[in-house]
């Protein structure tokens, strides 16, 4: 009898334990589902009657959540996605079950439209190798199109600002490609600085330029006169840039460096003046993917 009692109690306990797990599991599932619903529902409507089969999508900078709903919908509707390895990781959850082609190297773009015979030695070999790679990629995309598949190329940031994916539009011009706009790292860096880039006393204009541009010294000279806000995309040599700026701008000119714009966790801002900025940077090795801002807007106040 006592044994029965013990058995009974045991069974009860086991049942309770089971209940406990079941209920816990239910809560877990509910909360998980709630958490996952952060994957925003996408809506939108197909507009054109003749569906385009080739897209270039601006992914935006930084974290995956800076893509637009139109961008996501385009990915969702595509059969073949052409993008870099990094983009594959970034949008992994959206790319499940899609055919993928790798377009990682910017050199695919660099030698586009060039005759490799113009180059010598090592560069010529590189040109030939990337031309081959590109032609293989183009062949694969053409084949997919021929099979009636929809293709989306994912370009970083705003693909039309210093982007390496624009050649796709020229190569596949016959398909009437559609471009889906994306934010540039510039837009994300503006947000990081939380300052209106078109608000400063001297001018209300912004110039975007790139570090390795041969005209950059000309621009610096030109702008030193008007003191427009200047944004320099990824200068190679900061010391050299600051030296060039110092020749034309006063040492108290405000400077800001935004690195990893749009990455919630990694975004970093360094502010200073032309005189102090290099000291403030400290260990430069950590500084990656950055934009340099020059101009009074950084300290401008309306009140």
């Amino acid at each position: 009898m006592i044994e029965d009692l013990i058995k009974g109690v045991l069974v009860m306990k086991i049942k309770r334990l089971m209940c406990f797990f079941m209920v816990t599991l239910t809560f877990l599932v509910i909360s998980l589902e709630y958490g996952c619903s952060a994957r925003t529902p996408i809506q939108g409507k197909a507009i054109s009657i003749e569906k385009p089969e080739f897209y270039l999508v601006g992914m935006g900078p930084g974290d995956a959540d800076l893509i637009t709903l139109r961008g996501l919908k385009t990915i969702e509707d595509a059969d073949l996605i052409v993008c870099s390895k990094r983009a594959q990781d970034k949008f992994a959850s959206y790319l499940e079950g899609k055919e993928l082609l790798d377009s990682s190297s910017y050199k695919l773009s660099r030698y586009y439209g060039k005759d490799c015979r113009e180059f010598k030695g090592k560069e010529r070999k590189e040109c030939e190798s990337f031309t081959n790679k590109r032609n293989t990629l183009i062949g694969k995309i053409r084949k997919a199109i021929g099979e009636g598949k929809t293709v989306a190329v994912l370009g970083g940031g705003d693909p039309f600002i210093y982007g390496p994916s624009v050649w796709f539009l020229e190569e596949f011009a016959d398909l009437n490609p559609v471009a889906v706009p994306g934010l540039s790292s510039f837009n994300a860096a503006n947000a990081a600085l939380a300052k209106s880039v078109t608000s400063s006393k001297p001018t209300k204009s912004v110039i975007l330029t790139i570090g390795y541009s041969p005209e950059s010294h000309k621009i610096i000279e030109d702008l030193a006169v008007h003191k427009a806000t200047m944004v320099i995309y990824m200068p190679k040599d900061l010391k050299d840039l600051m030296a060039k700026l110092s020749a034309h701008y006063p040492p108290e000119t405000p400077i800001a460096i935004v690195s990893y714009a749009g990455y919630k966790e990694k975004e970093r801002i360094i502010k200073g003046t032309l005189e102090t900025i290099l000291d403030k940077i400290g260990d430069e090795k950590e500084l990656r993917l950055y934009l340099v801002y020059v101009g009074d807007f950084l300290t401008y106040r309306r009140k």
Partner: protein, 291 residues
Amino acid sequence: MLNICKKEIRIQTNLLAIMIFFLTTFFLQFGTTNNAYGKKGESVFYLVSVGVGDADLITVRAIDTIKKSDVIVCREKTKEKFAEYLKGKEFLDSSMGRRYSKKNRSKLTDKEKKAWSEKRRKRRAELVSAIRSQIAKGKTVSVLDSGDPLIYGPKAWYLEEFKDLNPIVVPGVSCFNAANAALRKSITSGKETRSVVLTSRRDIEKMSGHHPTMVIFTMGTEFKDLITRLTKLYPSQTPIGIVLYAGYKEKESVIRGTLKNIMNKVGDEKLPFEHLIYVGDFLEQKMKRDR
């Protein structure tokens, strides 16, 4: 079995409720007292870009930010456009009353002008205090703006006004990004220039020195006047692109020409407020040589 389960559900629900209560009070305290120590990327005050054109050019992050906000500050039109995300949120109208174009403003008498700006000032003060009182209640507030709020945006003043709250800006698609996509050309690939100037009516002379690619935020500027001025600065065969209604799938269109013939191409058509003008040979640039 079922009874025991019911009991278990009750106990766990209670536990969960208590946990949620503690967690929210904990985070609320965090939020109101000192958000500088809050989680990275969290604040109680946001300036959120909802993009341009159609509603689907909003980013995922902007939607998430709207979802976690209690109070939304925006214009009536924006409210309608994003109605599905704003359900159940408190709404504050950000409109500052009647707007005048520069031309119309000059027609006002001094007295009218003064009354108008006084009205705006008062309206703004009311809005600021309404936002402050929501913040004091522990609410999270998001101000919605279109385009990039930091490029000729009319709402950047909120950042200065609420600086003490460590506002966070959620970036979005500018009309400029959308117009780039409409043109389908790398705007940083001119024949001679790899630079782009974003500018407006007042600065085009200053910025045209070395003939960079130019994007003119027209914002109501008279078109003919602008072209006349550009003609003095750039060679007459310089390509021009006008993007109308960038980001609107149905309405978006592009008018192409050169400085010389663009006026004829536009003709008597009245350009809408939503148009950007691009100046530069990037418009005709090709990476591949014609074979």
